[in-house]
Symmetry: C2
Subunit: 375 residues, 2 copies
């Protein structure tokens, strides 16, 4: 009945609950834990596709909501799909657009059947259903599609969270029924901050049998401790032979916690957005490149970093470009931050492989708490 999955998860090593693995896809292997750079509009902001490849990105994310509105999924389909459109040969994951409908649209109305919303671009009215979301993702031709869900807000009453997860489960089933060939489909566990509801959601989705499972509705305003608790609790409920994806989370402190819990996939705009705002990650902690002290500093941003930016340009030059709002500032900063993230994930994988993830986590937690911005 169900279409054979076009991806396969291989567990390589376990260290505590942390997992070293690989997701095999038709377009290449994704070594996990993996960071997925975010290319909302079919472009990871300020980078080109060759640079992403050069940096070792093994998968990127693109947004169903944005591409549906502009240029339109039919246009991309006509052009041979998203890979060809943006000239990226590696795997692509598309989110379902659910999160954007709820976070970007100035107006939305949910019925059992679907959602009516207004475009944040031109105010035009659109109606999407789980079936339409699958059609859009099919037209885009991503390697991994996400089921259409309602992202339960925080705080939410138990009643709201329960109704919301019921809706998500019903929509998940409809997505599965409309699944595209040659495309993996992940279900999204909701349930707010109620562990029993998370369990209920996970069980219902597992029964439906997806190619992978995501945790949704986290990092939406709840306290960190609660986020960690729900992540730890829910991840352990998920099947061991399928990828596990924590959506939209990329603060590296959270990543360390979630990898410890057994999460494999992460996406976040943090490295790219921070880069454009001048906040840069280094092996000694975060720094803001605009600080006056860097005005005549001829040293590289991070002496321990091997990226193009650190090998070729000084902090003084980076500061100068940032102060002048130069495009090259956004380019060099983004290149560095994405490099830093991908290296960080490599180091996590190495630590899991050598059974030292817990030490790595403790060590990095101290460094990541260094924030020279306020120093």
């Amino acid at each position: 009945m169900s279409i054979e999955s076009n991806i396969k998860y291989k567990k390589i090593k376990i260290d505590g609950n942390a997992r070293l693995g690989q997701i095999h896809t038709q377009r290449g292997i994704i070594n996990t834990p993996a960071f997925i750079p975010v290319g909302t509009n079919a472009t990871v902001k300020a980078m080109n596709q060759d640079e992403l490849k050069e940096l070792g990105a093994e998968i990127i994310l693109s947004n169903t909501y944005h591409l549906y509105l502009r240029p339109g999924h039919e246009v991309i389909k006509k052009l041979g799909g998203l890979h060809k459109f943006m000239n990226w040969q590696g795997p692509i994951l598309t989110d379902s657009g659910g999160f954007q409908v709820f976070s970007l649209s100035p107006l939305r109305k949910i019925t059992g059947d679907g959602v009516t919303f207004k475009s944040h671009l031109d105010g035009s009215t659109h109606f999407i259903t789980p079936e339409i979301v699958m059609e859009i993702q099919g037209a885009l031709g991503s390697d991994i599609a996400m089921a259409f869900d309602e992202c339960t807000p925080y705080p939410a009453t138990r009643e709201y969270a329960l109704n919301s997860l019921d809706l998500t489960t019903r929509w998940a089933k409809r997505c599965l029924d409309a699944k595209n060939e040659n495309q993996a489909l992940f279900g999204i566990v909701q349930g707010g901050t109620y562990t029993d509801l998370r369990k209920q959601s996970a069980q219902q989705l597992i029964e439906l049998d997806f190619d992978g499972y995501a945790l949704g509705g986290l990092s939406v305003g709840e306290p960190k401790g609660l986020m960690y608790e729900i992540t730890n609790y829910t991840t352990l409920l998920l099947p061991e032979d399928k990828p596990r994806y924590l959506m939209g989370i990329g603060d590296l402190l959270d990543v360390l916690e979630a990898v410890s819990a057994g999460i494999d996939l992460f996406d976040c705009v943090m490295p790219t957005r921070n880069a454009r705002n001048g906040t840069l990650f280094t092996s000694r902690g975060r720094i803001s490149i605009k600080r006056e002290e860097f005005k005549a500093d001829s040293s590289p941003l991070d002496p321990d970093c091997g990226c193009y930016t650190c090998k070729n340009y000084s902090k003084a030059y980076l500061r100068h470009l940032f102060m002048n709002k130069e495009i090259l500032s956004m380019r060099l900063n983004t290149f560095h931050n994405v490099y830093f993230y991908l290296e960080f994930f490599k180091k996590m994988r190495k630590a899991i492989n050598s059974g030292t993830f817990d030490n790595f986590r403790k060590e990095q937690t101290v460094i990541l708490q260094n924030n020279f911005n306020e120093g």
Copy 2:
């Protein structure tokens, strides 16, 4: 008395008045006629320095006025000069800041000694003299410095133009007296649209003996015909054994005319600024990438172009990036336009070398007048 020039012009071939030549500098050879990409703030907008090299740029321009205000020439000097600051090993030409003082400053007051002006960045008041301008350019360490001049506006009365050129000559002499070691210095011919004043200015500067000569005060609002007349007339007055530079002009129709007149060097923001505005140069004429007809156009921008943009991305993708104001749009467009300009100059040099420049000029004039933007 005068410091030995650190550059040498070698004439290779003459075709009519068009010249094929080379400028030998300590940092490499510039094949002329040459296009100088503009890097106002020590960055050619949207490009990195390796890309400039990859595209074959043999010299770039940077702005004394901008770098004096931010980050300050003392900072750049402390960091080892402009080449080291921006990590560009090829020749750099710095303009004197004269043009920017007159075009960007909200307030300026000229005395015989120098100019008082207000910064367009923060309104702070500054006073610069020819000696200070030479000190700044010395601190930047450019290979070619420009004398401080007054850019005569259009229209200007004969009296204004005469007084202005007198001032420019007096300042030119003071710049020569303050000339830096290891730095060539070009004088700037003024005189407005009066041929006799252009002659007077040229003669006075030639007598002072500069390393090269520029035509200033053109493309400041005068009719094209008048600009061509003054360019043709003045260029013939300049020494044959020195480089000739037409400042700030880059419309390729004007370039063809000026190369015919014997001009060797050009700088202009046209390829880079147009790129950011979505206007792209192709072998068939200019096009605006935002046009609706490109929405689903899978063909490259220019099928005859070998640049990274044309080899990797479709018009549909370029249009999509432009409509979404993506940074990659500015990158890919800029890369293409600068490639186009540098290729155009290569073709001009080839045509001069084979004695067919006049044919090339006629042929290209027809193509350059194709503007599909309004088509």
